[in-house]
Amino acid sequence: MSSDVRFTDFKSDKQPTWCPGCGDFGTMNGMMKALAETGNDPDNTFVVAGIGCSGKIGTYMRSYALHGVHGRALPVGTGVKLARPDIEVMVAGGDGDGYSIGAGHFVHAVRRNVDMTYVVMDNRIYGLTKGQASPTSRSDFETSTTPEGSKQPPVNPHALALASGASFIAQSFSSDALRHQEIIQEAIEHDGFGFVNVYSPCVTFNDVDTYDYFRDSLVDLQETDHDRHDYEDAKEVILDADKEYQGIIYQDEDSVPYAEQHGISADMSDIPDGAPENATDLVREFY
């Protein structure tokens, strides 16, 4: 990888259509910086995006990318990474994409522990469809589809990840640019599925989970005695509903990524002009 890659190389010539002040700007900048900082370049990077405001990210970044259907970005990323272990894969989506329509995939992607990074831009609201409840919306949050609040507890993505056997669980805040970038960088460098939930405020439809709210309430785990390698510590932080955290919540030091467990290392795009060598062995099996 060329070391002279700058993060702006990951910028496309399309101007984002996110609302001015949207948290997604900061989230994306941190992703681009982290990719450049970890020695990647646009030609060896594959970004998979879901649907929603967050899903537009593939358009605003320059890399190989697929903007897929709603909620299925993780399976696409899984396929890219297993077929091309040499490619850096980053999957990005929103809270609706990841924890509602794609919740089933989230659980299994976590379990599979494929070596890729999953960034969820969590704004606790559906923005692109103009303000409906999301799976991470507070139970009393009034929206156009939940005028009296959803009366359902929000999904706790970190708990879902931990319960699914996650090897890397982190939380960042798009507005804390440096910490956000550092955390994404660690997720990229992690051997396995690097999951980062990013508080990425929606300035248009969410007047509760605002920049000010997160700024005032976030506790940086780096500044506490939290041990990221301690499962019990992680559990305690994750189940504490009274506080908002940022930092690496949990990292399994012994994480072995899927490809390694299954002996996958080849570039699967490289195939011969005819049937593979020894293919006739397959016919002989049927004697």
């Binding site: 060896n44 593939g58 358009t59 990318a65 259907v69 089933g104 699967m268 195939i271 011969p272």
Partner: protein
């Protein structure tokens, strides 16, 4: 008429019916006889009637018939279920010491052989081998050299140790000797052997083998009857050729993983059945719009909804042709025989990559689970050709970039085919999306570009129609007044039906169509015929509708949707009745 012999073993699901039947089929194949198998089975793990049937001849057999010569019955229901097929002189092998079989009624005109299968198996080393004792008994009844069974048993059990092989071979001999010593009866059967070498495989296996031969490296799927065999075949084999199988959490995931691998540049595939196709339809449009080469195999079963999961049907044709919102260019291939399952799979991968378009590869249940013998040359690996289509590398990519060196994955071209750059190709970074897009893959709602991209994607299909061979397969009398058209697995039964029809002086031209879209133009053939009959396993005649649409003429229809495949003699009767009506 083929001088054939028909044998079956039946009992409850969980009785080892399938593996026992397979061993006998293998023994026959190894003896140089042709074999065609079929299964009556229930999807329950245990309980319910299930049977494995083998039709065998020294000549090629490619259908089932309504006749059963020797039946190994592990339950009374097995006899009841098969009464219509049993005939005078049919031999029924059963274990009268088994509680459920103590009062089994053997019809008078048949020969009942009460063989203590379990007791003899225990003496040979374990009750579990009782079915093998029955196979030994069957060898004696059919005058079939038991060394062929030895060979099949060795193949089946050698991985588990020589002791097990020895025990099974001993169990088989116990059954053989018992019949020879205890029954003073002249059986009419004699299964002669030949020096021919055959391979024995089913359609699912042929598809799996075809995928590996075609360079498929990535398979993701979710288990579903009757497509699971494709996945199970690939698991443990594809790895030897540098590939991998992922069991996904559902079909939504399976197709998206396969899509991801294809975007990575791998030849990739998923296989499922109707209920899974329903879920995959969500992503199907994305595959086509992002111009991703993908092979989606649909092993059809009886629907709608959960339908009859272990039963035959060709009901998904319209779903594959029209499924998904919007207008989606696609190819639909439907192999008609097991060897064609192999070749059409190879073709599907080439079509997918040459035209960067999704390909439905569909087999019906009968084709998928039926085993049939072929000469090994039918799967000549040296004849496999790989065409990856329009892929650019670092040297050629410059011709497909903008002035700002942006790669154009959806470049507007005369033949509709755009360049493809695999990730890692320098200068190839690009976006692709399910949104309408410009040549760079960036979202657009600009009217002119929208029209250009839609036309370009559709033009790929037109190009394929011109460049590729979409010919059907033909059998029978090309000059006959009666034309019978079929698709999918009915071909074998139709070919054999020709012999029955010939006896009644009915000449028939058969056109068997392996391409659903694009498909051959049958106008001339239909116009030349006095009567055209379309045969298919569904209730509404979905392919007949297509033929009528294409040729603007009404056709006769023979439809079967009982969940059971056509039999040759039955089909001959149906055709005759249609002509007389």
């Amino acid at each position: 008429m083929v001088a054939d012999f028909n044998w079956a073993i039946g009992g409850e699901a969980g009785d080892g019916i399938d593996s026992t039947g397979k061993i006998f089929a293998q023994a026959l194949s190894r003896s140089g006889r042709h074999v065609f198998t079929s299964k009556d089975f229930a999807s329950r793990i245990r309980g319910g009637y299930t049977a494995y049937k083998v039709r065998t001849s020294v000549d090629r057999v490619q259908s089932v018939v309504d006749r059963l010569d020797v039946l190994i019955a592990l339950t009374p229901r097995t006899i009841e279920e098969n009464l219509p097929e049993l005939h005078e002189g049919s031999v029924i092998i059963y274990d009268g010491e088994r509680t459920t079989m103590a009062n089994a009624e053997i019809p008078e005109e048949m020969v009942g052989l009460d063989v203590p299968l379990k007791r003899l198996a225990e003496e040979a080393g374990g009750a579990i081998m009782r079915n093998v004792v029955a196979l030994g008994a069957a060898c004696e009844v059919t005058d079939f050299p038991i060394e062929n069974l030895d060979s099949a048993l060795e193949k089946r059990f050698k991985d588990k140790g020589q002791k097990l092989v020895d025990n099974n071979q001993e169990a088989a001999r116990a059954g053989q000797s018992y019949v020879a010593e205890e029954f003073d009866h002249e059986f009419d059967y004699e299964l002669e052997t030949t020096d021919n070498d055959y391979v024995l495989l089913n359609g699912d296996e042929a598809i799996g083998m075809g995928a590996i031969a075609a360079g498929c490296r990535f398979y993701s799927g979710y288990p579903i009857t009757p497509a699971t065999d494709v996945m199970e075949y690939l698991t443990g084999r594809i790895e030897r050729y540098g590939g991998h199988v992922v069991q996904a959490e559902d079909e939504l995931s399976a197709i998206n993983m396969a899509l991801g691998a294809a975007r990575g540049g791998a030849r990739s595939m998923t296989a499922t059945s109707g209920p899974g196709i329903d879920l995959m339809t969500e992503t199907f449009g994305l595959v086509a719009t992002s111009e991703t080469p993908l092979v989606i195999c649909n092993v059809m079963r009886s629907g709608p909804s959960t339908g009859m999961p272990t039963k035959q049907e060709q009901g998904d044709l319209n779903g594959m042709l029209y499924g998904g919102h919007g207008e989606i260019p696609r190819f639909v291939l439907a192999p008609t025989t097991i060897d064609e399952c192999f070749w059409k799979t190879v073709e599907a991968f080439n079509l997918a990559e040459k035209y960067q378009t999704p390909v439905y590869l569909t087999a019906d249940l009968s084709l998928a689970v039926t085993e049939q013998t072929y000469e090994p040359d039918a799967f000549d690996m040296d004849a496999v050709e790989i065409d990856r289509g329009f892929v650019v590398d670092e040297e050629t990519i410059g011709d497909h970039q903008t002035d700002a060196e942006q790669f154009k994955p959806h470049e507007i071209t005369d033949d509709g085919i755009s360049p493809r750059a695999f990730p890692g190709t320098s200068g190839g970074a690009h976006m692709s999306t399910g949104l309408e897009h410009d040549e760079l893959g960036r979202r657009t709602e600009e009217q002119e570009m929208r029209v250009e991209q839609v036309d370009k994607r559709n033009r790929k299909v037109e190009t394929a129609e011109e460049r590729e061979d979409w010919s059907p397969r033909e059998f029978g009398d090309a000059e006959a007044d009666t034309l019978v058209v079929s698709w999918g697995s009915n071909e074998g039964a139709l070919i054999e039906a020709l012999e029955y029809l010939e006896e009644d002086d009915i000449d028939v031209r058969v056109i068997s169509v392996p391409y659903i879209f694009p498909r051959p133009d049958l106008t001339e053939a239909v116009e030349a015929a006095e009567e055209t009959i379309v045969v298919e396993c569904n209730a509404t005649g979905q392919f007949a509708d297509l033929v009528e649409h294409d040729v603007l003429e009404r056709v006769e229809r023979i439809n079967k949707y009982t969940g059971v495949r056509f039999k040759a003699d039955e089909l001959a009767r149906d055709i005759k009745a249609t002509l007389e009506a």
